[in-house]
Symmetry: C2
Amino acid sequence: MNHGAGGKAMHTLIQQLFMTAFNNPILAQQNDQACFNVPINRLAMTTDSYVISPIFFPGGNIGSLAVHGTINDLAMSGAIPLYLSVGFILEEGYPLANLKIIVDAMAKAANQANVQIITGDTKVVEKGKGDGVFINTTGIGIIDDHIKLTNQVNPGDKIIVSGYIGDHGIAVMSKRENLQFTTAIESDSAALHELTHHMFEVVPDIHCLRDPTRGGLAATLNEWAKQYQVGISIDESLIPIRAPVKGACELLGIDPLYVANEGKLVVICSADKAEILLKAMQQHPLAQDAAMIGEVIEDPDCFVQMQTSFGGTRIVDWLAGEQLPRIC
Amino acid sequence: MNHGAGGKAMHTLIQQLFMTAFNNPILAQQNDQACFNVPINRLAMTTDSYVISPIFFPGGNIGSLAVHGTINDLAMSGAIPLYLSVGFILEEGYPLANLKIIVDAMAKAANQANVQIITGDTKVVEKGKGDGVFINTTGIGIIDDHIKLTNQVNPGDKIIVSGYIGDHGIAVMSKRENLQFTTAIESDSAALHELTHHMFEVVPDIHCLRDPTRGGLAATLNEWAKQYQVGISIDESLIPIRAPVKGACELLGIDPLYVANEGKLVVICSADKAEILLKAMQQHPLAQDAAMIGEVIEDPDCFVQMQTSFGGTRIVDWLAGEQLPRIC
């Protein structure tokens, strides 16, 4: 408990662990806030708390996820992510050695993405009042003038997904349920801002952009359909899903369309630019398997419908909850 | 659990509770990030997670505290707070009626302080893996050119506290321990940015400014002494402490210097401007009881020392932990 109490023990934790791992001049101001200049006045801000269980999973841990996830929410606005804040809520007795692995993963993910963690906070709660580690990251980024994300959609617009879906959720679920598969399934957790930067270079007036995390592809498409009062039609045979993920989903009785992703995005763009955008995406390492999976249609009921592999059509419903809790 | 699962239940919660309470055009973008322009390029950013127990206490609740606390961390840099993000971690089964009271308190506190809550996130964890509600707020503000906070101190500089200390911690502790006092003690939780704005108008080159929250006045003074490699000398008889707070501290066996405040600040300024600053502060409703309590001295040991009311001198040590956990 002393590590969260505002005294010498907390000071030592901050100095030895956080200041060393996240080392940068703005953090080194050592005040309760970070001060800095931004080169562009148009900003994006986003926040996410991460409560994933288990904390360590194939392909990452809560720390790398907390950096990637918040970077991605910034990237989806066309922003270049600049700075992150981090807030830890630790359960009393959580091993400092594990915390160090998490913090190092955050530092590595931030360095790789060229973002800086500039301010932070640590709270400790009693045993049984938390669950190891919860992390909040909040990010800000700048949006360059050439970004013309419209956030408007029209019937006929095309829908592209950047690669295989369901990897993150199934990787976490496998670890949680202690399932063994012949082929290892790893989380796709990755920072997508370089991919989005590349996409906006090619098509500045992308219509919509979102990363299908909690609730998966199905939730993202349903949110859009409802928000823009349109229908969406997708084709099951065009949606990239790895065979082991498909197998695991069958085993677990869950639908991959609802499974969280942490390194994928979905984009809507006008029909005349869809092929150009798709080709550009496929040239990027994080979207080699991008695929055009459907289009926006007129529909007063705002349904998401899918042509199934068997030739029929089904509604991809918006679930009340989710099959997989605490996936991020 | 469904309220945190990314599906329809979460959407409904967001629409009916958060969007209504925090209503503003930036939040209404309804994306995973908020986009906006800032009028000034010099920014401050701060983050805090709030895990206070109990969630409701005399003078406020976790919601108002989460708004005030983060506004204050911005204000201590001379920033005008503009925008907040909010991240909720809810324990499964926490009553929605209570959440509504908390959210309404946040909205009211934000409105009063003229800041907007522009982006948010909600996670739900299983019963026994959290403790009702944890809230992270992260804030950004702009720092006007006329703010010349030096963040440097010199021996001879004066130290001013903006009013009675210990109210917040003792109010929370009384509620937690179910103590009854003849005089009700309420938290001092308040947004201090208008007070700091007023202070910088009068003395633009304030040397240091901080709000003594966790660890109280003693932690703030010790942090400064260590950070700037100086000693600090204060006079016990000059420190404003309400009689009931003093009494409660004696009863509980704790030292008011270490008790958290949420509506007070401590400031260091040059000796020649101290009287002017003190007078200006006393004209503001939130610092009517401001007092000059001591000064910066040369001391290679970087001790905080106090002239006691009995005429002696004692070291105000930097505690390893704190007497009062989960006070904010």
